[in-house]
Point group: D2
Chain length 149, copies 4
């Protein structure tokens, strides 16, 4: 298997994950090809990412009053194996890189047979909900993110 | 075919529709049974309803600053025929009843063969986005709604 | 609160539910009004219904090879309270009526404060995936359904 | 703006697009942040990609009987500007690279102000729906793809 550009060493990359969220695939997330639609993994990435970031407590709660909000800068997903309704998916998440006002988050999904069905990554940027501009992390946020890195 | 409770005479009910929106079924809106998932019609109802209400101009634009917003009180859909990806759906909408602070909206979906595949209805309530309480329609709104009834 | 037509006595109706599924609201299931989009409850109904029917074992597994498949005849939902991201929803399901080839399923959703935010119902029809026609329940299915009624 | 890795020269990259699909953003595709949810662009990519591939006629019709089906190998999206409900999006698609049994498809989304709000790419692999293995393109497919490249 050719490695995605965001993975240098697969084994160490896999070992880097501690946190995961269990995803229940919704029937409506399948498509007429009989498998999970290719859009659905990004729904699962979002669910796992929010659970992870809430656990870290690096961003405020996700309500519209918060001034600093995390937004998605980019997203990518590699589809290694088809996913099917009824499978319980473990979606692993980790912070791979911490920048000035953004972080790189990596994803790995495993099915019930412990096969990796998805890998992915994406940049999360902290912006001001007022100005829409990027907002550098404060010391406390950096501390949390570095430690979890 | 047994008529849904919200239809008394089918022919006159059908004749009551003038406005429709053309719906492009998204591939992601199908499911592993090979047809359009049963959740999707409510997506289409919403799209057609918003287009219709915007055309009537009875509610402000749907942004979060508006004080009076239309919310869904209830929704129902009868599935007469399966829908498939690639079909272009005509989704007809009409105001069937005008209340003090709510309206009853009816829906009828036709596929490319002009077969009726869905019928439905739902109550839309005007509430204050501040208080969350229902807000009676003003004279202008009533006029618009009565005329379109 | 005015009762939906499918509920005669609210207290006994509520007491009729034993089974429930815990629903994790996905962020993507909210909308720009800040709450859970009105389409999402039907996603939750489907998830809870499938879990319930699988537990009963009244239909085969939901794969495309099965000859008899359950399809949705109609669906309705009453929105009693707005739902928000972060809430964990208990979605209760019960078989309310058993017909020759169809069943009526009722739904009740409770939020974390144990408030009822949704009630609903819908008819599930057993059809042949080959002919598309309705298929009467066999004795074993009736037994299961009657007992769980 | 830092260019995504899949774009070498932005101007010539933009010029490479001829085909586009107009996307009507669904209200249910927004989220509580008030904008289009970050999952939705992948729904739009899929809709535009299917329209484009159907126009090329390089794959059979998307039904489950087809033996050769196109599946998604990977997907990525860069979010340049937030998208909002009510905007009409022009989603441009082009084949960027043709391999033995896969193609690289690029995406560019423009809003009503003609601003680029999304860029993206993804690999589509032709597989056998029977074996699940990749299926090399035949001469006719190559001809079509090369010509449209």
């Amino acid at each position: 298997m050719k490695l995605p550009s965001y993975i240098t060493d697969f084994d160490s990359w896999k070992k880097g994950f501690q946190f995961y969220t269990t995803i229940n695939i919704r029937f409506s997330e399948t498509d007429m090809f009989g498998h999970v639609n290719n859009v659905s993994p990004f729904i699962y990435f979002e669910e796992a990412r929010i659970n992870y970031l809430n656990k870290l407590g690096v961003f405020g709660t996700l309500d519209q009053e918060t001034e600093k909000v995390p937004v998605v800068g980019d997203l990518q997903c590699d589809f290694l194996q088809q996913m099917y309704f009824g499978e319980q998916i473990k979606l692993f998440v980790k912070v791979d890189y911490v920048g000035k006002s953004s972080i790189d988050i990596h994803y790995m999904a495993k099915n019930g047979k412990d096969d990796i069905c998805l890998t992915g990554r994406g940049r999360i940027v902290q912006i001001s909900s007022k100005t829409g501009k990027s907002e550098p992390f404060n010391e406390e946020q950096i501390k949390i993110l570095q430690h979890k890195k």
